[in-house]
Amino acid sequence: MFSKSNEELYNEIMTIVKFSYLFFLLVLFVQLFADNHDANSYMIDPLWPMKPFTSIPAGYLVLFFQLNLFMSFLLLCFKPNHKFLKVYVFIIYFLYMAFNNSFGKINHGQYLALMMLFCFMFIPTKGKKDYQEKTIFTFATAQFFLLMAYSLTGAWKLLWGIIEFFTKEISLFSPLSFRNVIITQYQFVEPTIIGAWFLEHYYIGWVMYLTVVYIEICSVFIFFKPNLHKIWGALLLSLHLGIHFILQVNMFTAPLFIGLLLIMSPFYYKTNFKTTLLSLPVVFETRLLFQKLRNNN
């Protein structure tokens, strides 16, 4: 799977890890503006990790989390593999996310960030036995979970699409499916220019929707095809841009980690246009099937 030496991969991964903490710092700054809790507001529906803190005003909790995360991420930019700091920052971020989701509804936008911090905790310090190989496996695990999240999203769409095909009038396989998703979303957000256009030209929207389902479902297979890491990263980024332009749904941290884990993938190796095209999921398997059939005959 790896086209580079362990030494080379290790150095690249550690550079990405170092920059990721800088990105976390930037995400934190975006969140400074989003959290508007004062000393008189409290969590209305605390998640299990926040149960012991229900009597503390939300404003104080935000202050505690943000100051701690600021200090920790800043220190990690200088010492990216400090064991205690990595564990501490994961615990605080875990609690901060639990706090942010203790107001009635769980928002999943930040889960990928949490998953990444979790994986980075397991990167061993330099000098430990097999530290380079272990670091490579840990980074690959983070990539796998990112890609798996997208595959699951696509797989559920396909599963419900099949169920609804037999039980309802409109399913994923109907040209009205994407139009209906847009109409539902526009009940509570203002229609966008592109979204309104897709409502009129829903056939085009449906074809794009099916393409999105293909990109999502196949994501996890890309893990085993390093020559597609960057391309898939670009496709997933485009997917998020499209979701923003059409549905006004923002998962602003997801593109950040797609960038770090896929666009910057240390495992990537370049192949020519034809080889890249032929290694695309479904295209590759179909070609393999035809080759086997031809050989049998």
Binding site: H37, H108, L152
Partner: protein
């Protein structure tokens, strides 16, 4: 080294197991932070869209009925989050006969003594001309922290 090699397999099994347990056995349908990633998985056919219009916030009467989503400075909740909370409020109440038994968090979104009305908009999305199928119905009113179903209110 063996642990690192198999970490992804063990963790994936553990993750799915908790995500499925959370989906089947919990009210929130997930155990934080294990999520099954089922975003936009179903295709809407018959849209039932609940919305809340507020008459009074605490002791202050509003000059006109205002959608709860527009009262951000009062509740500080994001648009998508609050919309889903309204949706859960409606579906939770649909499942219980005695509305006074409601134990959810929606009554905590606005200050005490607030007054608001829950409506639903229905649209048949299986039709190409879906706009002509749109209807609105009043479901209930909340006054003095008491839920009053529409039938009893009229």
């Amino acid at each position: 080294m063996k642990i690192y090699k198999n970490f992804v397999v063990f963790w994936a099994i553990f993750f799915f197991a908790i995500a499925i347990i959370g989906r089947v056995f919990t009210y929130k349908k997930e155990i934080y932070p294990f999520f099954r990633w089922s975003l936009y998985s179903k295709t809407p056919n018959n849209l039932v869209f609940p919305y809340v219009l507020v008459n009074k916030v605490g002791d202050s009467v509003l000059p006109k009925q205002t959608n709860i989503l527009d009262l951000y400075t009062i509740h500080n909740l994001g648009l998508t989050d609050l919309n889903l909370m309204v949706n859960n409020f409606y579906h939770d109440l649909e499942e219980i006969n005695n509305k006074d038994d409601y134990q959810g968090v929606f009554l905590k979104v606005l200050p005490k003594n607030s007054e608001f009305t829950l409506y639903i908009k229905k649209i048949d999305l299986s039709k190409e001309d879906y706009k002509s199928t749109e209807t609105h119905h009043q479901v209930l009113t909340v006054k003095n922290n008491k839920i009053i179903p529409f039938e009893r209110n009229n």
